[in-house]
Amino acid sequence: MAGDTAPHAPTRTLEPAPLAGAPAPGAGGGNGDAPAATSGRARATRSADVVQTRASLIALAVLVVVFAAISPQFRTAGNLQQIIDAAAVLAVLATGITFVLMLGAIDLSLPGVIGACAMTVSLLVANSRNTQDLGLLGIALTILLGAAFGLLSGVLSTRLRIPTFMTTLGMSAIGLGIATILFAGVRPVVLDESLGAWASHRIAGFTVMSLIAVAAVALGWAIQRWTRIGRYAAAIGGAEDIVLLSGVPVARYKTLAFGVAGAFYGLGAVMLTARLGSGVVEAGAGTDFAAITAAVIGGTLLSGGRGGVLQSMIGVLALTVLANGLILTGVSPYVQQAVQGVIVVLAVAVATWPVRRRLGVVK
């Protein structure tokens, strides 16, 4: 969210009343900060980053150790495979949303984008509703559709200067609308065997889908590490006004980051469809919050500039282990949801503990 107001920030912070101290295109701080405080804050920032990643890893480790101690089934190799398989879709979605969160923006478009992409892919590969049989091409087109949704969110946010909260929420509604039209009352059952094999065929004990997810996460990490989109996304999240002052076309790179995110949502939708065996409009329900929660637990903060794809993966594993472990340890279904909520809040609290503002104001 902070990323949306930031384009205006230079005018605000750089033209204070003429007598008001020094110009301050500083790292997001109020210009009332004394310089000494600035350097103190930078030190806190550094340790915060390390502490956050470490805290997230510790939270994950604690969950694993506790569940392993209580439940013998949790300790089995089969359950490890199950956890990896179960985490696959969320991992891909969280990879995508990480690019948006790095900007300091937010993305609530997942339910709609995934719904539209799930219907699209199930109607483009061999299915029970029509005679299409595009196979891999259909999957590729679906990923492109996801990217198009992302680019549209980005364009609306940057060009029309609408907060991403609103544009992506609207995009979700548009996606669901398209999905409902495509659904037309009859669920298309996926008959394409290679897509079906994503969920059922195993290589070295892991489903094809898990391996695709690992590859996708690796690709996401590479994009973040080696491309302008990834690097500028981090820089924009760190200090958008400074990046703007350096002459970087910020709006373009923000839009592209949304596009990358959308492509990952498209892939996630394909994976969900393979798993469910048919095109389901509501396939993406709740994924936006799951992906955001995973990212935040991992240390990719909503304020932008922090964390990254690999950090988000810690959160994905933590959430998946939690859901899996609560069942295996026999926690009553009637209290699971509450327990899950408490643990998630605790994890986020631990992960964000070091981040303090001057007066501790949190919005």
Binding site: L19, P23, G32, A37, S39, A239, L245
Partner: protein, 513 residues
């Protein structure tokens, strides 16, 4: 003291400012400023707050658009549209509050937006990036690793990275750049300052430098020429070899006392009883501060930016986490852990950043005024609108706040009237015992300033203790009964300033810098 080889005076200037004028509402920030920077020289700029230094620098990097006058770069007049544009003609600035992105590497910051061969086919080539950045770091002999994350560096190291970033203009523009250094030494340790100076001297081998500092001795030490600014114009151009700090002090202050402006005759003797007693106050940027304020006394705190006086004030108001020390208000311990505790104890605070911390622009005058003391206009949990309005009307009249009505959004009022609302917020409280004023006249025009001074006199006259941080030394001296001087986080002097016996500003200046 100067062992520099003086550049030939005949050399044509690389940068010239001619008759630059910039007016902000109520203030003439630049008033026909003229100066020039020649190739490979270090030009010092000194002036009090409000002399026009910041506005000049902002104009030179395109962040402020002058109303008239011209900026001439290498013989060509330019209208600078922004930092990127200024960079393209070879002018770069090292900002006081630093303009590096914290969460990326040093190399990325140095090359941000102009990676050149560091990015090939859309992919970052980290080794090449590091090499390119290293070229710039080598120019100033910095040992910082180009691959380090920027926020892992010390402030001084980051400053060097900024200098390196500005030097990258050399390759991009094929000219020797002009490097503007805005208060580069204000938060540096003495050794770091030495390092910086060594680098500025290296810099002079390949660039022109404009050096802005509060510390006169430093300016004299490093500069080839020094411009003294006052009231938006150059009042003197001096050769550092021929003047000393005391000469500069006189040039800096150089204005007659305007007694009536400060309502001098309204200054009354404070009571004998101690209102606030501070022992060994310890907080980030301010160490072991001990002092007392009596009831009805105005205590000025003088010091340059970074002297720790802002931190001191914020700490007393409970707005700095982790402040420690023995603080007694009327003999009772004052908690320093939250602004609320301070307010309940009878401490008020008028922040310097009126727009971001002083008022809520979108709320009405009434709401802004009764904010801190909603309790006094409440009936149970509900705000009594009638009582609130009556109270506000009284104060609007008493302070002569020019507002169409109490329901007007405060953001639409002039700065002076906004500030009066903020002052009224605290004066409303009958139990106000100490008011901390952090640059209360910042950004106000002369008339509004005078009105604020009158209010401060009135407050002190009614027995309230006032801690005053002033924009200018003159203001601090005129308004205060005593003046504390701070430097580098410590109190270095405390001078009496009774009516008719104000101390010499030069003495204070010497304790400040």
């Amino acid at each position: 003291m100067s062992n520099h080889v003086r550049p030939a005076a005949a050399t044509s200037p690389v940068l010239a400012v001619r008759g630059l004028t910039k007016r902000y509402p109520g203030v003439l920030a630049l008033d026909g400023m003229d100066l020039e920077v020649r190739p490979r020289e270090v030009v010092g700029l000194i002036g009090e707050n409000g002399a026009g230094k910041s506005t000049l620098l902002k104009s030179l990097v395109g962040l402020a658009q002058p109303d008239s006058g011209s900026i001439v770069v290498r013989g060509e007049e330019v209208r600078l549209r922004g930092v990127a544009h200024a960079a393209s003609v070879g002018i770069g600035m090292v900002f006081q509050e630093q303009s590096l992105v914290p969460n990326i590497t040093v190399a990325e910051n140095i090359l941000l937006g102009a990676e050149g061969s560091g990015v090939r086919g859309g992919l970052f080539r980290w080794r090449r990036m590091a090499e390119l950045a290293q070229v710039q770091l080598d120019k100033i002999g910095s040992t910082v690793s180009a691959r380090a994350r920027t926020d892992s560096l010390t402030f001084a190291q980051r400053q060097m990275v900024e200098v390196a970033k500005v030097l990258a203009l050399e390759e991009r523009t094929a000219h020797e750049p002009v490097v503007l250094l805005d208060e580069p030494t204000s938060v540096l340790e003495r050794e770091e300052v030495e390092t910086l100076f060594a680098q500025v001297r290296r810099l002079r081998e390949r660039a022109s430098v404009v050096f802005v500092s509060h510390r006169l001795d430093e300016v004299l030490e490093i500069s080839d020429r020094v411009y003294v600014l006052r009231n938006g114009r150059v009042v003197a151009e001096v050769d550092p070899a021929e003047v000393d700090a005391t000469d500069l002090h006189h040039l800096l202050i150089g204005r007659e006392s305007t007694g009536s402006h400060y309502h001098d005759d309204a200054q009354q003797q404070p009571a004998a009883d101690v209102r606030l007693s501070v022992r060994d106050l310890q907080t980030a940027g301010c160490t072991q501060a001990s002092f007392e304020i009596r009831a009805g006394e105005v205590l000025g705190v003088a010091g340059v930016q970074g002297s720790g006086r802002e931190e001191l004030c914020r700490a007393l108001f409970g707005a700095v986490p982790g402040a420690r020390g023995e603080v007694l208000l009327d003999g009772k311990p004052l908690r320093l852990d939250s602004p609320r505790a301070a307010v309940l104890a009878g401490v008020g605070y008028v922040p310097s950043e009126r727009r971001t911390e002083g008022v809520v622009s979108s709320m009405s005058v009434t709401e802004n005024m009764s904010m801190a003391h909603v309790g006094t206009v409440c009936r149970g949990p509900v705000i009594d609108g009638r009582r609130e309005r009556a109270l506000v009307d009284t104060w609007v009249r008493r302070l002569g706040i020019r507002t169409p009505s109490g329901d007007t959004a405060i953001g639409t009022l002039s700065g002076g009237n906004q500030q009066k609302v903020v002052l009224a917020r605290w004066m409303v409280s009958e139990q106000l015992r100490l008011l901390i004023l952090d640059h209360p006249t910042r950004g106000l025009d002369v008339g509004a300033k005078s009105e604020v001074y009158e209010l401060i006199r009135e407050l002190a006259g009614s027995g309230c203790a006032v801690l005053l941080l002033s924009d200018t030394l003159e203001e601090a001296l005129a308004m205060s009964h005593r003046v504390l001087v701070m430097k580098d986080g410590r109190i270095t002097a405390c001078l009496d300033a009774p009516r008719g016996g104000k101390p010499d500003p030069v003495a204070i200046m010497e304790a400040m810098v």
